[in-house]
Amino acid sequence: MPSFSHVDRGRSWTALVLLLALGCSSSATTGTKGAAASADAAGTSGDVAATTAPKLVADAQDKGPAVTFQGVWQESAKRMQVQVWVRDFPHLLGLAGHLRYDPEALRLESLKADGVPVGATADPLFEAHAVARDTPPGRVLAGAARLNSKPSPWLVPEDVAVSSELWLTLIFDIRKPGSHKLYFDPDTVMARSADGKPIAVQWGSAHIAWGGDK
């Protein structure tokens, strides 16, 4: 099941050796689910009433397979919740990328990864897995894929059509005024169908704009 967690900053292999050697533990932000994403986010880009409140502005995208951003300002917590959605894939087995942001301007308070792709109807034979970790700060390593839950060598991977599914939920503390970009590093993005072929995807980007007075 998806779960919120405080940000795990990740570590190098040698650092992990150290952590394990010192008896420490670490957790990854992962999730699986077998049903379609539930409720949509409360707000959409530009849906912030207070002119002084921060807002998220997503770049425009054309039709077709896309990864899109949505944001809502959480007035009570004074945090920006950013959601990353996967939309309009005729067939998708999995996708991945490194989401980048400026860690000096934005502090990631929590990160949740939902399993995608699920498809229109959850299939008990399949699990949608997701992994995400912010390491180093400013780089969220994210991936999601659909796996047969009872795999067999006689079965082949199966992809699924995705209309709109929530993938990542990030909550930021905005530390600096200005326009702060969120984007997927184009050198790291990938999306695959079940035959392993790459899918052309519009990897969206967004800006968190804040004038300096929350």
Binding site: W13, L93, G94, P151, S152, P153, P157, M190
Partner: protein
């Protein structure tokens, strides 16, 4: 509070702090092989069972394999003529299926090469009765010394020395009960049921025991009841009729050999005349499956044509393909013949088992070159028969079915089914006695020869095999002779290759790690290969670097390990790599492990892309449980790097485990 840091903690701290001279993390060993058998119900299991049936008998035959080096020469071409020789044998066999028993009458023609030969020794299976006479019927003294098992040495004591000027004829008759279930040194197998009466022997009864290389031409006469047909190696004729009404079928074997066997059934032979370099092909199958004889003939012609082009043309004038009962298990290939289990004859190209049967038939027909035209000299040279036959079969199926399934399965079977404690070198003289004989000689042997082919190229490989045949046809050879022929054809010193792969057990065991860095608009890919063997191997490595857009770039690299077994290679690519695939076609006999946990696609970082690539391999496995047993599962898509949890399969558990390593990067190298 006192803190105590262990050595491993200190080492980790040193690495983390970048202390100069700090040791790298110890390499992670690849998954070890397990002592497992093929998964029942898979086509590979059936194929392996057929191969093992053949291999089992080789093991039984071991004590009779003679070492020509006893004579102090490299091979028989260099040995002085034997002191006497068998000029011809005329053999009549009569089976009593009810007992069962076999009566054999042999007219033996011999001639001395030097004066003073008056005792002649022969290997024969133990008999209930033996009589020996001269050609005119005069009794001839003999004695018999059991060797253990079902074979002994029969020595004929002549009343006068053999002539060097003229042939001498002697007669030997023997009768013996047959125990078909017990494989011995003389009898390979026999079957007596309502359909078949068959006897397959390693050698005709009278094989000289004084020297190893003693083939002879022969005529075989097989007595059958009315309504039955005999099948055996050689040019058939008949039948003639005995006074009691029974039939006698004749088989002339003009080629010198000592292989033997025959079968009796209601065969409906289908003969296809010789054409071009192809021989007369006769399919001896029973009427219920005789409709498939053209399929069998066409397959044999395709195989012989392919081998003829790759090696040298088929060396004999006849080829008889003889159906035996299914309990025969596999195949056996005396000169100019293949005895095959029954079900091989009852299928056609559109039947699912066809590809597996083609593998078996191609293996047996490969023996016409490897094992018959050129014979292995000693116990350490069996690869010259079985490994070459299996390799040839792999070459054929790769071309005919346009896939590498057979060689890949052989490769994986060896790597995952032969634990180090049971492993032996291909050239070990003791390999016959190994429980893993089949896996080492057939599977690893063929995979090693395929590696050699990949290193040399098809043209040089085929030229080397042609050179080998040209030098050693109708003779014995040793593995070093094959090496010499390959070196001559390729112009390369192959001493290291043969030492690594023929003279040493094991496979490449290596840990892989990559580091990828962007620099001036390009990307540097550094690959570290850390071999775990005490004696790391040199080899040619193929690497594919994949990009996000689906394009890729291929590299070929000679790997020459340093003293610590490590090799670091570096390439520059124009785009950000999505993954690095090391030995992507599994051309090497190897097992890999990950130096950077979770970085299964070797991009240099464990990230979400590893999960997507893992999803594409979900379900792949190399071991599988059936009931309470664990078996080798022949999954040619197996990629051990994605088995994060080291349980010999890729499944959602690996996806979960991968998540724990997210963000892990390779240590600096």
């Amino acid at each position: 509070m006192r803190y105590h840091l262990s050595a491993s903690m200190l080492a980790a701290l040193a690495v983390l702090a970048g202390v100069a001279g700090a040791a790298a993390a110890p390499p992670r060993a690849p998954l070890p092989a397990r002592d497992v058998q093929p998964m029942p119900g898979t086509s590979f299991a059936a194929r392996a069972a057929a191969g093992r049936a053949e291999a089992d008998t080789h093991r039984a035959q071991h004590p009779l394999v003679l070492e020509p080096t006893w004579y102090g020469a490299a091979n028989f071409a260099a040995i002085a003529a034997n002191p006497w020789k068998v000029v011809h044998q005329d053999i009549t066999v009569d089976v009593d299926a009810a007992v069962p028993s076999l009566t054999t009458d042999i007219i033996l023609t011999v001639r001395a090469a030097k004066d003073g030969i008056s005792d002649l020794g022969f290997f024969i299976p133990i008999a209930d009765s033996v009589s020996t006479t001269t050609d005119d019927g005069t009794a001839l003294a003999h004695d018999f010394a059991a060797m253990g098992g079902d074979v002994g040495i029969l020595t004929l004591h002549l009343t006068a020395p053999l002539s060097t000027q003229a042939d001498t004829k002697l007669r030997v008759s023997r009768k013996a009960k047959l125990t078909c279930g017990a494989k011995g040194l003389g009898l390979k197998s026999c079957t007596f049921n309502s359909t078949f009466s068959s006897v397959v022997l390693y050698d005709y009864d009278l094989r000289p025991s004084d020297f190893a290389h003693a083939p002879f031409p022969s005529d075989l006469h097989v007595i059958t009841p009315i309504g039955k047909v005999a099948a055996a190696p050689g040019l058939p004729s008949g039948p003639s009729t005995l006074p009691d009404g029974r039939l006698v079928w004749h088989f002339q074997q003009v080629e010198p050999t000592s292989n033997a066997g025959f079968s009796i059934a209601a065969y409906k032979p289908v003969v296809t005349p010789a054409t071009g370099s192809l021989p007369n092909i006769r399919v001896f199958s029973v009427p219920s499956v005789a409709g498939h004889a053209p399929d069998m003939t066409k397959l044999a012609q395709d195989i012989l044509t392919f081998y003829g082009q790759s090696f040298v043309p088929f060396p004999w004038k006849e080829l008889n393909l003889i159906q035996l009962a299914d309990d025969f298990g596999g195949g056996y290939a005396p000169l100019s013949t293949a005895f095959l289990l029954g079900e091989a004859f009852g299928i056609g190209p559109n039947d699912p088992p066809w590809e597996g049967m083609a593998e078996l038939i191609a293996h047996e027909l490969g023996h016409q070159w490897w094992g018959n035209l050129v014979e292995p000299a000693g116990a350490g040279d069996v690869s010259l028969s079985e490994s070459l036959a299996e390799f040839s079969s792999c070459l054929f199926t790769e071309k005919a079915f346009e896939n590498r399934s057979q060689i890949l399965t052989n490769n994986l079977s060896y790597v995952y089914s032969v634990p180090a404690a049971q492993d032996m070198a291909i050239t070990s003289g003791a390999v016959y006695s190994s429980a893993k004989y089949f896996d080492i000689i057939y599977h690893k042997g063929s995979a090693v020869l395929d590696m050699l082919r990949r290193e040399l190229g098809d043209d040089a490989m085929n030229a080397g095999l042609k050179e080998y045949v040209a030098q050693y046809h109708h003779d014995f050879a040793r593995v070093q002779h094959l090496r010499a022929a390959m070196e001559k054809a390729s112009g390369r010193d192959l001493g290291n290759f043969f030492d690594q792969w023929f003279n040493r057990p094991g496979a490449i065991q290596a840990e892989l790690a990559t580091r990828v860095t962007a620099q001036d608009g390009a990307w540097k890919v550094r690959l570290r290969i850390r071999q775990l063997d005490d004696k790391p191997r040199s080899f040619q490595l193929q690497v594919a670097v994949d990009f996000q857009d689906g394009e890729k770039q291929d590299f070929k690299q000679d790997i020459v390990p340093g003293a610590d077994g490590s090799t670091i290679v570096e390439w520059t690519v124009p785009k950000a790599p999505a993954r690095v695939r090391v030995d992507p076609q599994r051309l090497l006999v190897r097992a890999f492990s990950l130096g950077t946990p979770g970085d299964a696609n070797l991009s240099g970082l464990c990230d979400g892309a590893d999960l997507v690539d893992l999803a594409l391999r979900n379900g792949r496995r190399i071991l599988a449980k059936h009931k309470t047993q664990t078996y080798f599962f022949p999954d040619t898509s197996w990629n051990e790097l994605y088995d994060i949890t080291s349980d010999y399969m890729v499944n959602p558990d690996d996806a979960v485990a991968l998540g724990t390593w997210l963000g892990t990067e390779a240590e600096a190298f």
